[in-house]
């Protein structure tokens, strides 16, 4: 019975959202606001109990890291306190007179993640791709890949006018770009329809149980 109630509520909310396809209406607005509110509350609870509590609150106030006791003022204690304080300082952005303090936390956060990302992203997106595209022109597939790559790169080379060989290569690149965009659009259609199929499956199978 409990499952039926929640399934019915889910079905009503699903139909409320889809009612927007006819026209905007209060049912759609209610469902939209409900999902925003519930998501915010759910995320807050998940973040607190999975991250803030075990990594900041418990070490700093209960002097525990998991099952292990840590000393007040120990290295582990400071490692929990300082990032926690830096995180709290981000909220100074809401107070104009001290909003500048948030830049310290933001700087450490952005700088840290940028530093972590530069090398592996460069490796994965550039270096490995250059290696993977250095192909022998011994098959039609390899020729297409190399020609498509060179043509696409030529199209995005704006330091010279697109005429002569560069222009011809750029026009070939446009064809490959259009094929790529078409494939991407086709995948996008498939993705959106999959979401609709998922909801229809929920309505017919989980709620109405007619299939």
């Amino acid at each position: 019975m409990g499952t039926l109630i929640w399934t019915t509520i889910g079905a009503i909310l699903t139909l409320s959202v889809y009612s927007f396809l006819y026209k905007d209406n209060p049912f759609y607005k209610f469902a939209e606001h409900l999902v925003v509110g519930i998501s915010a509350g759910y995320y807050l609870v998940i973040y607190y109990y999975n991250f803030i509590d075990p990594n900041v609150v418990t070490p700093v106030f209960q002097l525990r890291l998991g099952d292990q006791a840590i000393g007040f003022g120990s290295g582990a204690w400071w490692l929990a306190l300082i990032p926690g304080l830096l995180g709290l300082l981000l909220y100074t952005r809401f107070f104009p007179r001290v909003a500048w303090v948030a830049r310290w936390s933001l700087g450490i956060y952005v700088g840290g993640y940028a530093g972590l990302g530069i090398s592996p992203v460069m490796q994965a997106r550039v270096i490995e791709q250059i290696g993977a595209n250095a192909l022998p022109l011994t098959s039609v597939t390899n020729v297409l890949i190399v020609v498509g790559l060179l043509g696409t790169l030529a199209y995005f080379f704006f330091s010279m006018k697109h005429k002569g060989i560069l222009g011809a290569l750029a026009r070939v690149g446009i064809v490959f770009l259009m094929v790529g965009f078409g494939a991407s659009f086709g995948y996008t259609v498939m993705s959106r329809i999959s979401l609709l199929i998922g909801r229809v499956s929920f309505l017919l199978h989980d709620w109405l149980q007619v299939v």
Binding site: L21, Y22, S39, Y42, Y43, I46, Y47, N50, F51, P54, L65, G66, D67, Y113, L116, G117, S119, P120, V121, Q123, A124, E128, Q129, G131, A132, G180, A183, S184, G186, Y187, T188, V189, M190, S191, I193, S194, L195, L196, I197, G198, R199, V200, S201, L204, H205, V210, V211
Partner: protein
């Protein structure tokens, strides 16, 4: 108004209705269209198939949210069924806060269906924010990132986690994500640690991942509900992925027809207007 202008003036809500009917009908009248397995899916299946039973576990990072559930949950269920059928141990985690409940639901449902025991055959580590920091931290020591599982049990007390320290003890990581988490596994697990990574992503994102697949940074790739359907065919257990393929195929044909008709209407109306302007002049 000529016929072309009438076509262009059709209320889009009729098209929405037609699409809705086209999606619903195959649920009542299934066509049973064949699903052909493609190499990216086959490679991921083979990678899971190569993991030794009752040994080092498969790490499944279920990083999707409710918005991408219809595409990615069938993948999770199919991969879990495949692993449990072969007695491969599975460790499940999530990098998305909304993925906590979804990951737990998929894992516990399939584990119960396949008679698996928590702590011996599978475990659930829960959620940790920070994506890149989490992935990098696990490469050094999993226990520093996940000192306990999702239910508060220290990792050292979970039998299947005994001796598991970092990626050296994990043969394969599969990330199922509707956002950049799958890329993050390539950047921060494959690149620095050489960890084998597979991915299941939404169809929207799939085209962005083919470069990683063709450069060998991914062992395999599932793209959208179609990828899930292909995996279900491989494990010989047809479920929501295959069920959705009939509707998917009908809708794609319908959209092709609508695009063709739309172009005919557009160019026809433009030609008619030019003729009328010429006659008027």
């Amino acid at each position: 108004m000529n016929v072309f202008e009438k076509m262009l003036a059709i209320d889009r809500r009729w098209i929405f209705l037609a699409i809705g009917v086209a999606v619903i009908l195959p649920f009542f009248f299934p066509l049973g269209l064949p699903v052909v397995v493609t190499p990216p899916v086959q490679h991921l299946y083979d990678a899971v198939d190569e993991i030794h039973p009752n040994d080092a576990p498969l790490l499944l990072s279920i990083d999707y949210a409710p918005a991408t559930l219809p595409e990615l949950e069938p993948m999770a269920v199919a991969i879990l069924r495949h692993a449990f059928e072969r007695d491969v141990n599975v460790v499940v985690m999530t990098l998305h806060p909304a993925g906590y409940g979804l990951a737990e639901s998929a894992l516990l449902t399939v584990a119960e269906e396949m008679g698996q025991e928590y702590g011996t055959d599978y475990c659930f580590l829960g959620f940790q924010p920070g994506t890149s920091a989490v992935i990098l931290g696990m490469g050094v020591n999993i226990a520093t990132v996940f000192p306990e599982d999702a239910y508060g049990t220290p990792l050292a007390e979970i039998p299947m986690m005994d001796g598991m320290r970092n990626y050296d003890d994990i043969p394969l990581v599969i990330s199922l994500a509707g956002w950049s988490a799958a890329e993050a596994w390539v950047y921060y697990a494959y690149q620095p640690f050489g960890q084998a990574v597979g991915a299941g992503v939404t169809a929207v994102m799939a085209t962005d991942f083919y470069p990683y697949l063709s450069s060998g940074q991914l062992v395999g790739l599932l793209g959208g509900m179609r990828g899930a359907a292909e995996y279900e065919v491989l494990i010989d257990t047809l479920d929501k992925g295959v069920q959705g393929m009939d509707s998917q195929s009908i809708i794609h044909i319908m959209i092709i027809i609508l695009i063709v008709l739309g172009n005919i209407a557009y160019f026809g109306a433009r030609r008619r207007r030019k003729l009328e302007e010429t006659e008027a002049a």
